[in-house]
């Protein structure tokens, strides 16, 4: 069964400029699905709409158009979800400080949702579970951290707690938005392994938003590459790394830092143009080193080039 299905999803933010109405097309006609237990990585430039997509699917933001289905049930159209569905869909926020109310200790912030959703039969059991998770994430001894306020912790400590908070609720679907961005490699390895074990044991599907290609390809089964609100490439994670097809994906890969070897960077022109009017051709056209004439005229569709490998590019197809 598909855990998540997204159909022609759009989110436009209105913007007023010189009396005229423009729109920021943060998510523009995106469709894909996530199978049970599958982990899908979302890659793309800062500002391309990754977090907005995460908000739309976890129903914290209303769509402009399109549909979202959770286990074949339509959840779009409203931000109200049945209490249990709310629990089953969890979002790890990009900014971990937003996950915690500064007036509560982090322990309280972890415990209260468990009470609300009646996970565990009593507080002692719940606390034991929380401690266990904290130790797994390297917050040891857990008692040291449990009664602190969010501002009394380091950035990476708060980030780890925000991951645990979502995991403790045993979601069926988890959106992880740059969830290890503040962790150094060694702690990150432990946390990622913990998260992956958890996901595979409980068959949790995940949307793993990251700008780190090596991390994304390590964690995910499939990867979706976005550019300015559009999906430009979808493929198996291994395939994306081995055989990237879209020029933008190839550029991203060429910039991915490697420590002991200088890789040749494919030069990229300019920077992201704010898209206020609906573009005629391909959105990447002006920055693309390979662009052809038709690129400026026709918006390329996402087509399957090889089995399971979809690309939206005139040059490739």
């Amino acid at each position: 069964m598909k855990t998540i299905e997204v159909k022609n999803l759009k989110k436009y933010f209105p913007l007023r400029k010189l009396g005229k109405r423009y729109y920021i097309r943060a998510v523009d006609d995106v469709s894909f699905s996530i199978e049970e237990g599958e982990i899908v990585g979302i890659l793309g430039e800062s500002g391309c709409g990754k977090s907005t997509l995460g908000f739309l699917i976890s129903r914290l933001e209303r769509e402009t158009e399109g549909d979202v289905f959770f286990r074949n049930q339509k959840i779009s159209g409203t931000l109200r979800l049945p209490k249990d569905t709310r629990r089953r869909i969890q979002l790890i926020l990009q900014n971990p400080y937003d996950s915690f109310d500064p007036r509560f200790t982090v322990g309280e912030s972890l415990l209260i949702p468990l009470r609300i959703h009646k996970i565990g039969s009593h507080d002692l059991e719940r606390k034991r579970k929380i401690y266990e998770y904290m130790e797994m994430a390297g917050l040891s001894p857990a008692t040291n951290y449990y009664e602190r306020y969010p501002h009394e912790l380091s950035g990476g400590q708060v980030q780890r707690l925000s991951i645990l908070r979502a995991m403790l609720l045993k979601p069926d679907f988890l959106v992880a938005d740059e969830c290890v961005s503040m962790l150094d490699v060694s702690v990150r390895a432990d946390v990622i392994n913990f998260l992956l074990n958890f996901a595979s044991l409980s068959k949790t599907s995940m949307m793993f938003i990251t700008h780190d290609i090596s991390l994304g390809s390590f964690v995910s089964n499939r990867i979706i590459v976005m550019y300015l609100g559009k999906v430009v490439e979808i493929a198996k994670a291994k395939e994306i790394v081995k055989n990237p097809l879209h020029p933008y994906t190839r550029i991203l890969l060429s910039y991915s830092p490697v420590l002991f070897e200088k890789r040749k960077k494919i030069p990229i022109k300019g920077y992201v143009q704010p898209l206020l009017e609906k573009p005629k051709g391909c959105r990447f056209f002006q920055r693309c080193p390979f662009s052809q004439k038709e690129c400026s005229e026709i918006d390329p569709k996402l087509v399957e080039i090889e089995k399971g490998h979809l690309v939206a590019c005139h040059v490739v197809s």
């Binding site: 913007l15 400029k17 430039e45 800062s46 500002g47 990754k50 977090s51 907005t52 990009q94 900014n95 400080y97 937003d98 390297g138 917050l139 040891s140 001894p141 040291n144 009664e147 501002h151 009394e152 380091s154 950035g155 990476g156 400590q157 980030q159 780890r160 740059e178 961005s181 503040m182 962790l183 150094d184 490699v185 060694s186 702690v187 990150r188 390895a189 432990d190 990622i192 392994n193 700008h211 290609i213 090596s214 991390l215 390590f218 291994k238 790394v241 550029i251 991203l252 910039y255 991915s256 830092p257 490697v258 420590l259 070897e261 960077k265 990229i268 920077y271 992201v272 143009q273 704010p274």
Partner: protein
């Protein structure tokens, strides 16, 4: 010229359960045009050190011992007035919590302008506008961001806004605390290039706190490695990253997921940071160190310092085999 000298600095936090030894006897120096990277496990005291240097520690923190000389002045002694005058002008910082650093009810442009007005009130309106636009271009943000409210920006746009804000008064020294965590490689590369230009052309000096060793390799000329509040190793980029001496540095580098070997599992360092509320005997890293000998659990290794390179470890000959 010496921009910063940190001398045997210790910073602690008071909690009801006890004291957190966040920074312990840390010493290092930063010269003009240096870009020093600070790496270290989450919770090892990097941000605390930065807050200490900026004199922005929260109220439950205190300087236990040591000195900080910034532009030759002992900042623990000079009056707060003087610090207020220079902070955000002569030296500034990008916070790790940058996403919560701005006021949610004012437009980005107004907040940046405010920073300019406070420190350079003599600038004309036109000049201010020019500088703001220049700063936005430098961090690759469209000018519409100046009109936006913080919640209308993506995570990476917010971080870039904070970088622009930290540079708006042309400071001589900036601390970037995990300032590019939300940026993709292309955007990050472009910003690092801009910072490099400032270092070369305007003599900027900087500290980059980051867990991203790729960033360190790209922009830093020196690297400090912290673990549980202590400085484990300090030296040039080449020395520390490509020829590390301390077992912790080695272990940290080993857990870097090298993109070129797909399929290989990323490994952490077994164990976790020691309880920061307890004082410990011996080397703080000993319980997790594969080279630890009996002595390591009994005495604390002294800092060995040769020509600006520092390392604290008893078993260097063993380790470097």
């Amino acid at each position: 010229m010496k921009i910063l000298k940190v001398d045997k600095l210790s910073i602690r936090y008071k909690l009801k359960e006890g004291e957190v030894q966040a920074v312990e006897n840390v010493s290092f120096e930063v010269n003009e045009r240096d870009v020093v990277g600070i790496v270290g496990e989450s919770g090892s005291g990097k941000s605390t050190l930065a807050y200490g240097i900026m004199k922005l520690l929260p109220s439950n923190a205190y300087f236990k011992n040591g000195r900080i000389y910034l532009f030759g002045k002992d900042i623990l002694k000079i009056p707060l007035e003087e610090i207020r005058k220079n902070r955000w002008k002569k030296y500034s910082m990008v916070f790790q919590k940058s996403m919560n650093a701005l006021s949610p009810v004012h437009r980005i442009g107004d907040q940046i302008k405010e920073a300019l007005t406070i420190h350079q009130p003599y600038l004309s309106q036109d000049e201010m506008k020019k500088r703001m636009e220049r700063a936005m271009r430098m961090v690759n943000l469209p000018l519409r961001v100046l009109k936006a409210y913080p919640h209308e920006l993506s995570g990476g746009m917010m971080q870039r806004t904070m970088i622009a804000l930290s540079l708006i008064n042309d400071p001589k020294f900036v601390i970037f605390d995990e300032a590019t965590t939300a940026l993709d490689v292309v955007t990050q590369g472009q910003i690092l290039d801009e910072v490099k230009k400032l270092v070369e052309n305007l003599g900027l000096t900087a500290i980059f706190i980051t867990h991203d060793i790729g960033v360190i390799a790209e922009i830093c000329n020196k690297v400090a490695v912290m673990y549980a509040g202590k400085l484990m190793e300090f030296g040039s980029l080449k020395e520390v990253i490509y020829h590390p001496l301390h077992p912790y540095t080695k272990a940290l580098l080993k857990s870097h997921p090298d993109f070129l070997k797909p399929g290989e599992e990323i490994k952490g360092i077994r164990g976790a940071l020691p309880d920061p509320l307890k004082s410990f005997r011996g080397c703080v890293f000993a319980p997790r160190c594969e080279f630890a000998s009996e002595m390591c659990f009994e005495r604390e290794p002294e800092e060995i310092s040769v020509e600006g390179r520092k390392v604290s470890c008893f078993n260097l000959s063993e380790v470097s085999k």
